[in-house]
Symmetry: C2
């Protein structure tokens, strides 16, 4: 399992991904699920992946080698897409091809589905963020619900719904995203530290923050502890039922 | 969808269930999913159901009419089970029979699976709580994790994991359960008010509280609002990332 969040607020774009993969509960590994292309001031494409590791690795590999644009016939890759929208659509096409190529391998209990988040900014366009489904179709993040999630998304959704708005400052949004990951990691062993984190100002072609939050990260450990204590206190303070 | 919680703490037993059922998102109804048998001071059996309404109604109907005990050959029903364990096992058997009887009706996208919570106390035994799976097998609630959930369980699990312990007082546990339902109802439209609530003291054969919390319930509305405000405040107060 995996949990990735993409947030697109007024001030910019954030992507977060845990790094745990598992085949069953007895085969757990650490894999990077947040990849960055460009990040040179002109082009920033961030891709987060959830689902079948073989499908997502296959799709990303395919785009790296170059995928034909059905309208122009030209091969495009991370270095040539003219916009994030084009990157998302082409990645969706690659994802579907890889998934379809695995149809013959299907057997009960084995699932080759995968989803991706594709976000960033190319040549100064406003930052955009897309969710790419296994079928290859995409949806775009919009201000009314300024986030998209893939993977193990339910445990960490309530805090996003309550606290995140389009006008939430970027560093506050980062904090809220980490709380969402914290709730998920407490509930599901298949989501775990370290966390890969990307933060980019709106329209930027280069990340402001591109780092890995390790198990020993003082801020994260303290955030998790304080959040737990504050939730306990808030729960305690609520009035008891009169029934 | 549905969300039901059963909590078994030192002081007693709580069952809560929402009342929304849906076939798709455009066919939503209100159905009671928490049923009570006995409640006469000697026998208290509470059954909460999630999943296919036709399966759960069929299984409960079957037990009401009487199901044969494979060891004794005698027919047993809600009024004759000698213990909650026997009630849970017999209900599981009925559930499996009903589900199997629907096999021929199966088609893609239609799921006849269902799960139940069966809890209470018969003839003065200590209160017990079981989760009954579609396959008919059961698991029992134990002090290390003093709750069981069925239905749409992920959104409301974090608050239970954080706040509920075996020594949590009964009225505090009631409050925590309502917060868990509140988180779920905010996240999933297929879970909704009113909420059916049952509270029984440990070992009691009669409920202390057996009521429906309606949309207009002052305490619930206030709890939901205060919780939202306290979460927002707690989130705000947490330190910002130093990255």
């Amino acid at each position: 399992m995996t949990y990735c969040i993409g947030m697109l607020v007024r001030e910019g774009l954030i992507l977060m991904a845990d790094t745990r993969t598992n085949a069953g509960v007895d085969n757990i590994s650490t894999y990077r699920k947040l990849r960055l292309y460009g990040n040179d001031g002109k082009r920033l494409i961030a891709v987060a992946s959830a689902g079948s590791l073989s499908t997502t690795q296959g799709a990303i590999q395919r785009v790296t080698k170059g995928v034909p644009n059905p309208e122009t016939g030209k091969y495009e890759n991370w270095g040539t897409f003219p916009s994030i929208y084009d990157a998302a659509v082409a990645t969706g096409r690659a994802l579907r091809q890889v998934r379809d190529s695995m149809k013959d391998l299907a057997q009960p209990g084995v699932n080759f589905d995968a989803t991706l988040l594709v976000g960033g900014s190319i040549n100064g366009e406003p930052s955009r963020l897309f969710l790419v489904y296994s079928a290859g179709n995409t949806i775009e993040c919009a201000p009314d619900t300024p986030y998209l999630q893939i993977g193990e998304l339910k445990y960490g959704k309530p805090i996003l719904d309550r606290a995140l708005h389009f006008d939430t400052p970027l560093n506050e949004a980062m904090k809220i995203g980490l709380l969402s990951l914290d709730s998920t990691m407490r509930a599901n062993l298949a989501v775990g530290l370290p966390i890969d984190l990307l933060v980019a100002d709106a329209g930027a072609g280069q990340a402001r923050i591109n780092m890995r939050i390790e198990e020993s990260d003082d801020y994260y450990l303290n955030l998790s502890l304080q959040w737990h204590q504050k939730l306990a206190k808030a729960t305690e303070e609520l009035p008891l039922p009169p029934y």
